[in-house]
Every structure is written in C-alpha cells, then in structure tokens.
C-alpha cells in the first residue's frame, strides 16, 4: 500500500476532473463519483497509516519536478511517517463522513454537482498537503486548499455576505502566506533545498545561523497564523461560517485550519532550534485561545460559537507546539478534528431542521431530534475534557506541556473553563428547556440517515480516539507519531484531576445559568455591560481593520491612480502639448521671420528695382543729363 500511497490524492483529483468535464449535469452521478473516490482514499489512507504506525522507517518517493541547476532544483514527492499517517486518517475520515452527510444536507441545492467537485478539489489538495515531502509542494497544496475554501465559503454567492466572507478568507490567509513564501525563499537560500529531509538535516547541523533560523521560523509561522486563524489574522474564520455547514465541519474545523498546526509540527526541528521563534508561537497561541474562548461565551449564532471555539482550540494546539509539546499539539489536533467535526455536523443537522442559526430561536430540540442531541452531547463532553472521552486525554497533555510556565498553565485552565461553559450553554439553549420559537419547533424533525449515521460514527471516534494516547500505553500516540523525536510527557494525575475539575465546573455553571435557571444570565450581563458588548462585538477587530487598513488602502489606490493619470500621464501629455506648442511657435517664427526674411529680400529687391528702374529709361538725352549732372557734382566737390 505504501508504494501506491501517491494514489491517495489522485482519486479525488480524478473525481473532480470527471465531474467538471463530464458529469456536472447528473447530480446523483457526480455525488457518487466523489464519494467513491474519497472512499478509496479513505481505505488507502487508513491502511497506509496502520502499516506505518509501529514502523519507524520513513518512506519517501520523489521525482525531479524542475531542475534548473543550483539556483533552482525542486524535486517533489511524498513522505510517509507517523505524523502523515495520523493526518491521513483524520482527513480521509472526516472527508468521507462529510461527503456522505452532504448527500442529505445539500439535497435540494441546485449546484449539487459543483459542490461535490469543490469538495473533491479540497480533498485532493488537503491530502497532497499532508503527504508532501517538501515545503514547496506543501505550499502549492496549501494555496489550493485556500482556493477550495474560498469557493466553498462563497458557495451561496448570491448572498452578499457569503461573497464577502470568501474574499476576506482568501485575502487574510494570503497575507499570512506572504510570510510562508519568504520563509521558503530564506530556507532555499540557506539550505539549497526545500525537502523536509534536506532542510531539517541542515538545521540540525547548524548550517543556518540562529538569527536566520528565527526569522525563517517566524515567516513559516506567519503562514500558519493565517491558515489556522490565529491573532491577528483570525478574523476570517468566523465569517467563513457563511459556507454550507458540512464545509465548515470539514474545512473550517477539522482539516484545513489545522494545516497551520501541521506546518509547525512538521517544522519541529526549526522551532526546537529557534527557541525565540517558539516562544512567539506559544504566546500567539495562548492569546488567541483566551480571546476566542471569551468571545464564544456570548455569541448567539450556533455556528459562530463553534467557530470561535475552533479558533480557541487551534490556539491551544499552537501554544502546545510552541512550548515544545509536539505530541500534545498533534494529539489534540486529531481528537479535536473528530469532536469538532461532529459538533459542526450536529449544528448542521439542527439548522437543517429549524432553518435558523440563532440559538435564541431554538430550545427543547432534544425531543425532536434525539440522535443529533445525544451525539452533540458526546462531542460537547469530549471538548469539555470529561473523562474518559478523547478530549480528556489530549487536553491533559496540553496542560502537561505548559508545566514550568505558570502563566500558560493558568490561562490554559481558564480556557478549559470557558470552553466547557460556552459549549454547554450552547447545548442547553439548543436542545433543552422550552422551545422559544414554537413555529420552528413544530417543523423540526430528525435528519435523514445519510446525516445521522456520520454523526454516530464521529461520536464513536470522539469517545475512543483519545485512547491511543493513553499515557501508560507502551506504543501509544507519542511513539507512533513522532518516531524521530519520541516525546513522553508523563501522566500527571494531579493535573489531570484539576483540569477535569475545571471543565466540570464550567459545565456546572452553564447548567445553573441555562438549565436550572438558578443564576439569571440577564443579571450577569447587566453587571458587566461593557465587557459583554466588547465580547459581543469580538473586540472590534473587524471595525479596527476596516478603519486602519481596508479603507485607507482603497483611498491610497485611488490616489495612485490619480497620480498616474495626472502626474505621469499628465507629464507625457504635457510633453506632447509642449512639442505641439513648440511646433506652432516654430511655424509662426518660420512664416514671420525666416520666410519673412526671404520674402523681405525679394520685396526689397523689387522695391529697389522699382526705384532704380527709372534710371534706365533708354533715352539718350536722360543719360546725357545724368552724365552732365555728375560732372557738375564732381566739379563742385573739387
């Protein structure tokens, strides 16, 4: 299987091409091709992962893509190790679940075939991203997943907000990608190669200076900040919820947004060697995590709560990586992918039933949709870190990674508390209590099997996926994913207990406020209006960016265009006018003076001739008179 691992992204690529070129008029056929392709990728991906786990050899295959000699030699290929195996499992599993789920969710959409073409494009690019054996191919697929994200966020592009959100996502992430490109340039200039193997061995043998390595690390991280929606480039992800909900689950929760986390994890050698860059990573991660979790506390759009939750959890992973917890970060990446995808698909199921995103119009839905409710609850328990669900194990590792950095530990626990709180606020407001919109409640119904079965499968994974990371397992997660750098944080019973307690207290508070009603949310809100408004407005990031960057940029561009037309082209036209004026003047000068002089000479000659002519009369007596007069004059002069 490993020899043919390159086929894994080829299946969806073929599916996309087939749909675009041939079957786009046949809805069911298009969906069938797409799902068949991703199923093949799923089978291949899992079998590759299983065979690579417990086998420390790294498999590589590549060919010369472009060889211009020393100044640019880029072989591209795939590399399979434990980390790639894990990513293959995550991506193919969630992609398959989402594609099946979409059969039901998108059933009535007129652009059904196109939707599956885009999903296939995304799956292809994402699988290439995790299989790549070099930074270049990774960047290529990194941009392609960005394209798929752009197309899918704006899938319902008739809506202005969806079109805006797609554009915002593309441009914001591309801002981070500028850093990624510079990182590539620095690494190539420094190491003469972009293959992971080449770059990391150069880093390990100190070919690059410390300063350069720090800059290169930060540049790569800038790409991760964009893609994984970290502060200050996080603003696109909540808006990305304009896309269809299965897309949010696949791209904006489980796979694409963790590409940044994967990039940092993959570049472990660089961040281990550049500890200042690593500290920046850690700080950005925790700031993002705290900020996003706090915003999540007050949002009323079911998908936005989940979006901020995603941003916050990504911050967790990034922070863990920055603090050297590579196992912790990647482990949480995996468990989070399953329970967050489940949460989104559950939210999608709810939206499908009640046709609104606003939790203030929901309530009591457990009675109507039991499967959705129960699976959602499992996911919520998992993300809250309740024993023995997957989130418990991965969150514990993250807390363990912060040990020795007290500020990080405290903030991590604070985030854990907020996470548990907003997640159960969401659960209680959606599924329990009395319906707040009776009309919507009456029309609510459980979703079809195509949607609930993926929920159930993901629910199982949300429970058990943490178990491969059980601390006392001899060949657990940490040993299968990072063979080259085994990393065994020990199981801290005390910290595990504290973290679990923090999570439970968050759940407890949500229970009292939104289930029992023993604490009135309105009163809490009234006592902290300023904070509440700030959180509701997401710390005013969008407004600030609009005032500081977006509008000034438009104005500046118009200014440059004015400059172009009036200054540069003005100079050209001015030069033209000056030459014309000069010609006109020349013509006048020519006609008046040059020609005037010529004509003047003629005129003078004629005039003189006219006068002198009188002398030559041809009469002898006149001549005789002149001769005589001359003699008289001469005589007088004497």
């Amino acid at each position: 299987m490993i020899q043919t691992a390159w086929l894994i992204p080829i299946f969806p690529l073929v599916a996309m091409a087939a749909i675009v070129l041939f079957t786009h008029r046949h809805r069911a056929l298009s969906a069938g091709i797409s799902i068949a392709a991703v199923s093949l990728s799923f089978l291949w991906g899992w079998s590759v992962a299983v065979s690579v786990w417990g086998d420390p050899t790294v498999h590589r295959m590549s060919f010369d893509w472009l060889n211009l000699g020393e100044s640019m030699y880029i072989p591209i290929g795939i590399q399979i190790d434990g980390l790639t195996g894990m990513m293959l499992v995550v991506v193919t599993t969630v992609a398959l679940m989402v594609q099946i789920y979409s059969l039901g969710y998108m059933r009535d959409d007129p652009r059904y075939s196109r939707y599956y073409a885009y999903l296939s494009l995304f799956t292809m690019a994402m699988l290439t991203l995790v299989l790549a054996d070099n930074f270049f191919l990774m960047f290529v697929s990194w941009e392609l997943v960005g394209l798929a994200s752009y197309l899918l966020i704006g899938f319902w592009f008739e809506k202005q907000s969806a079109a805006d959100a797609g554009k915002k996502a593309f441009i914001t992430t591309r801002l981070g990608d500028l850093g990624f490109i510079l990182g590539l340039l620095l690494l190539y200039t420094g190491c003469g190669t972009l293959t992971f193997q080449g770059v990391f061995s150069a880093v390990d043998s100190h070919v690059l200076s410390g300063g350069l390595l720090t800059i290169a690390g930060l540049c790569l991280f800038a790409g991760a900040v964009g893609k994984s929606a970290q502060v200050p480039l996080h603003v696109w992800l909540p808006d990305a919820m304009e896309g269809p909900t299965p897309v949010s689950a696949l791209i904006h929760a489980a796979t694409m947004v963790v590409a940044g986390v994967y990039l940092v994890a993959r570049s472990m050698s660089i961040f281990l060697a550049a500890d200042r860059a690593a500290m920046v990573v850690a700080w950005i991660g925790i700031i993002t995590s705290v900020m996003a979790a706090s915003i999540g506390l007050v949002q009323n759009d079911i998908k936005r709560v989940l979006a901020y939750s995603t941003v916050s959890q990504l911050g967790y992973m990034i922070m863990a990586l920055g603090l050297g917890g590579f196992t912790a970060g990647t482990f949480h990446l995996m468990t989070h992918a399953f329970f967050k995808a489940l949460l989104f698909l559950g939210a999608g199921s709810v939206i499908h039933a009640v046709h609104t995103n606003d939790i203030r119009e929901m309530g009591g839905l457990h009675a109507k949709m039991k499967t959705t409710s129960i699976t959602f609850l499992i996911a919520a328990l998992a993300i809250a870190g309740v024993f023995p669900l997957s989130g418990f194990w991965s969150k514990d590792e993250i807390v363990a990674a912060t040990l020795g950095h007290p500020i990080f530990t405290v903030l991590t626990l604070a985030v854990a508390f907020m996470t548990a709180f907003y997640m159960f606020r969401l659960y209680f407001l959606t599924f329990t209590g009395k319906p707040r919109d009776q009309h919507k409640f009456d029309h609510a119904h459980e979703s079809p099997k195509t949607m609930t079965v993926p929920l159930q499968i993901l629910a199982v994974l949300s429970v058990v996926s943490g178990w491969i990371g059980l601390p006392w397992l001899e060949h657990g997660f940490s040993s299968v994913v990072f063979h080259e750098h085994p990393h065994h944080p020990e199981f801290h019973v005390v910290w595990a207990f504290i973290a679990a307690l923090v999570g439970l207290s968050g759940i407890g508070l949500a229970y009292m406020m939104y289930y029992k009603g023993s604490i009135d949310p309105e009163r809490v809100r009234a006592r902290a209006t300023g904070l509440y408004t700030t959180l509701l407005n997401k710390y005013y990031f969008d407004e600030a960016y609009s005032v500081l960057f977006v509008r000034p940029y438009y104005t500046m561009c118009r200014g440059w265009f004015w400059f172009d037309q009036h200054a540069i082209d003005g100079a050209v036209n001015g030069l033209g006018r000056v030459s014309v004026a000069w010609s006109v003047f020349n013509r006048w000068f020519d006609e008046t003076f040059v020609d005037g002089a010529v004509n003047g000479v003629g005129w003078l000659t004629r005039g003189f001739g006219a006068i002198v002519r009188h002398l030559q009369t041809g009469r002898v007596q006149n001549y005789a008179f002149i001769v005589f007069a001359a003699l008289v004059v001469l005589w007088l002069l004497q």
């Binding site: 211009l68 640019m72 592009f157 554009k167 940029y553 561009c557 172009d564």
Partner: protein, 490 residues
C-alpha cells in the same frame, strides 16, 4: 522546408496579406479564410520548430544567413535559441487564436486582415532576426500596422491612443537606432551582426557599455513597459480591438524583455551589473504600483491592462538578477505565461463587450448565475493571473523570487507583497461582476460560444500544463540561459 522554416514562418503571413489585397473587398468570407490559413500555417511551423529544436545546446539553430546589402555588411540572418523558440511559438499561437476572435470585425475587413498579417510577420521577424538591421526593420514594421489597427478599428479615443502608441514607441526606437549605429561604427570591421557584437562585448569600454545600455534600455523600457513609461499602455490596450489587445499584451510587451535578454545583457555585461539594482527596483515598483492602480479601476479592460504593468515587473526583476539561472528562466517563463493568461483575459473581456457593449465593472453582477461557463473560464484565468499554484503564473513568479532573492533580499520581499495585492484587486472584480444576484447588463449576456471557446481553450490547457509540469517549457529555455549567465560572467 526545415532549412527555410523561419523564413517561411515570417513570410507566410506576408503572402497571406498579399493574397487578401488581391481579393474583392466584399468577399468577407474569403478574406477571413485566407487570413485564418495564413495565421494557422506559422503555428504549424512553430510546432515543427518545437519538435526539431535541440534544447540541449545554447547554439543558434535553424540558421539562415545570406548577404543582403554587402556594402554595409548587412545580412539576412535568422536563427533561434532558447530565448526565441518559446516566443515564436507563443506569437504564432496567439496570432492564430486572435485571428479567430477577429471574425466579428465588419468594418473594412480587407484592410484589417492585411494589416493584421503584416503585424504578425513583423513580430515573428523580431524574434528570429540575428542582424541588427533586420531586427530594426521588423521592429519598425510592427509599428505601422499597429498604428492603423488601433486608429481605425479601435474604440472612441482610438486616434489619441494610436498616435500616443506610435510616437512613444518611435521615440524609443530612435534611441535604439543611435545605439545600433554606435555599435556599427565602433566595430572593426563594421558589423551589424548581433552575434558578432556579443562576441566583441569584452572589448567594449565601460563608458561605451553604459551609453549603449541606457539607449537600448529606453527603447525596451517603453515596450515592456516599466515605470514611468507605461501610460501609453492602458490607452492603447483599452482602445484597441480585442484581437489587437491580445497581441499587444501577449507579444508586443515581450519585445522589451526579449530585447534586454537578447541584446543588453550579453552585449553590455558591465553596464548590466551596474544597473542591476535600479532595474530590480523598477521591476518591484512596477509590480506594486501596477497593483495599486488596478485596485482603482472601474473599466475591466483597463484593469487587465494595468495588471500587465504589474506582471511585467516580475520579468524586469528576473532580468535584474542576471546571475541566476532561475531568475532569468523565470523571466522567460513569465513572458510566455503572461502571454497566455493576459491574452485570454483580453479575449474574455471582448466576449462580454461584444454582447453588452460596456466594460464597466459596476455594470455587471451575478454573472456566475447567468453565464456559468464563461464565468468559470474567466475565474480560472484570473486565478492564473493572481499566481495560484498549479497554474503557470505561479511557477514564473516563484522562479523569479527564488532566483532574485539572494541578490536583492529586501527588494524581493517588497515584490512578494504584490502576490497579495494582485489577489485583492482580482477578487474584488470577481465579486462585483460574477457573484451576487444577476444585475445590470448581465441580463443581456449569453454564454460563451464555440468559436470563442476554441480561442481560449488552448490557452487554458497550456496554462494548466505549464503550471503542473513547467519542465516542458523550462527545458527549452534552460541551456540558453545557462550560457547567457556564463556570457555575462556573474
């Protein structure tokens, strides 16, 4: 046939023009048919050229050399290397496709196609000539038909645009002519052979190199165009009929960068080194400035026109890094890629202009609902233009960046920002025209027809193929560039 291949390539369009002159002027079908054949045959020859060219060597191939004006030592000398082969192929391809797009010309059809074919002959000649006299003749031959094509078949401000283009280019040509004469009179024996002049380059004084470089640069900078000589471009592109815009952007702009690679770099290496940073700075300034100005455009065609200013900046940046095979190859790659992409964009602009008679971006909305095939193709080319990986534009930008970065770190870093700015103005355009609900002129649109599809499909295929596997093109260029770098002696 193979021996005279280049001559046939150049003169077949001329023969076609002659035949058209002999046809009755009302026989539009006949004229179009002759023009299409006359534009198609050079394309066939170009394919034979690609097949017969040996990319492993930098030596000139398919050479033809005959005494022309022996008294002045002027020769009819043609030949191709890795710089000219891709450009000849691109020119032949675009000329054929743009000819198909010209079918909607209904006014003075006979003159149009005669001028069109004359223009093609001139363009092909420039890329094949190895003698300065011949080079200059072809260079000027292009000007005249271009002047009339814009001035007669252009938009409302066609006369202004045509005169501006003509005078601006002529202004540059004069500098080039002076430099050519200087090269001629300083050589012993007097020669106009480009190869001989390159061979004697090491003997030129520093001062002479500087003078000649600057004079040639003025001519080439106007053609590329670089800041601040670029303002003829938006006027000419916008006013020109669609097919002519395609050739202007796709081929004529490349004459400037081609000239720099063919003449300036190998002939004046000392001056090249001296002016490397200013060229890089001009290139990057063009990239960024062009992108700024694009953001403020309301006319779609003008947007595409200004995007050329930005995209040709990558070429100049690549040339400035004269010591890097990657950067110079990237420049060549960008010339081809920009020709494919921008050529297609101009064709696509023409498609909607033909139907709705406006190019105002704000006059459209929701086109993706109304004309999905057209929209999909347009968006594909826009993605190519904004440097999406997997398409050819990305490859060339990356080559240039990677090659130039070791030489001009900060300058290149500024240039990288162009990648973001390009995305900004193109996505804004996509949003306004293609997304949202059907609005304005979109109502009157019908989707792309078969003839238009035939004109853009080859460009799309090549954009994708070269983006996925660039070695196909890079292999043609590589040996010549390696040799060029050696000649410059970096």
């Amino acid at each position: 046939m193979m021996s005279g291949l280049l001559s046939w390539m150049i003169f077949l369009p001329l023969i076609g023009a002659g035949v058209i002159m002999a046809l009755p002027k009302d026989n539009h079908r006949g004229i179009r048919a002759v023009a299409t054949v006359a534009a198609f045959l050079p394309l066939v020859l170009a394919i034979l050229l690609l097949a017969g060219y040996d990319p492993s060597t930098a030596a000139f191939q398919f050479q033809e050399n005959a005494a022309w004006i022996p008294a002045l030592n002027v020769n009819y000398h043609l030949g191709v290397d890795g710089l000219s082969v891709p450009m000849l192929a691109l020119t032949a391809l675009l000329c054929f496709l743009a000819c198909l797009i010209s079918y909607n010309i209904t006014n003075r059809v006979k003159e149009y196609f005669a001028f069109y074919l004359l223009l093609e002959a001139g363009m092909l000649g420039v890329f094949a000539a190895l003698d300065f006299f011949l080079f200059y003749v072809f260079w000027e031959v292009m000007l005249v038909p271009m002047y009339f094509l814009i001035g007669i078949w252009g938009g409302p401000r066609r006369e202004y645009a045509a005169i501006k283009f003509f005078l601006y280019t002529l202004f540059g040509s004069i500098f080039m002519l002076v430099a050519i004469l200087a090269l001629y009179f300083t050589s012993t024996p007097h020669t106009l052979s480009i190869t001989d002049q390159i061979a004697r380059a090491p003997g030129m004084t520093h001062g002479f190199q500087m003078f000649a470089f600057v004079f040639f640069f003025i001519a080439f900078a106007i053609k590329i165009p670089t800041l601040p000589f670029h303002t003829w471009l938006p006027d000419a592109h916008v006013e020109a009929p669609t097919a002519v815009s395609v050739l202007l952007a796709g081929v004529l702009l490349k004459m400037g960068t081609y000239g720099l690679l063919r003449i300036s770099l190998p002939m004046f290496p000392m001056a090249t080194k001296y002016f490397a940073w200013p060229m890089a700075a001009l290139g990057v300034a063009g990239i960024v400035y062009g992108a700024f100005v694009c953001m403020a455009q309301k006319d779609l065609k003008k947007l595409v026109a200004y995007s050329s200013v930005s995209h040709m900046g990558y070429c100049l940046l690549g040339i400035a890094a004269y010591g890097s095979v990657a950067a110079l190859t990237g420049c060549m790659f960008q010339m081809v890629s920009h020709g494919l992409i921008t050529g297609a964009l101009f064709i696509l602009v023409g498609v909607i202009y033909d139907r709705a008679h406006t190019r105002e971006i704000d006059a459209y909305g929701g086109m993706w609902v109304k004309v999905p095939v057209y929209s999909g193709i347009m968006v594909l080319f826009v993605l190519g233009s904004l440097g999406l990986p997997g398409l050819s534009g990305f490859v060339s930008e990356f080559m240039v960046f990677l090659g130039a970065f070791p030489y001009f770190k900060i300058t290149v870093a500024v240039g990288v920002v162009g990648v973001l700015l390009t995305a900004a103005y193109f996505l804004r355009m996509i949003q306004k025209m293609f997304l949202g609900t059907v609005a304005g002129q979109t109502e009157h649109l019908s989707d792309i027809n078969a003839r238009e599809m035939i004109a853009v499909a080859p460009l799309a295929v090549m954009m994708i193929v070269l983006g996925v596997y660039p070695a196909l093109l890079a292999d043609y260029i590589k040996a010549t560039i390696v040799n060029l770098v050696k000649v410059i002696g970096a």
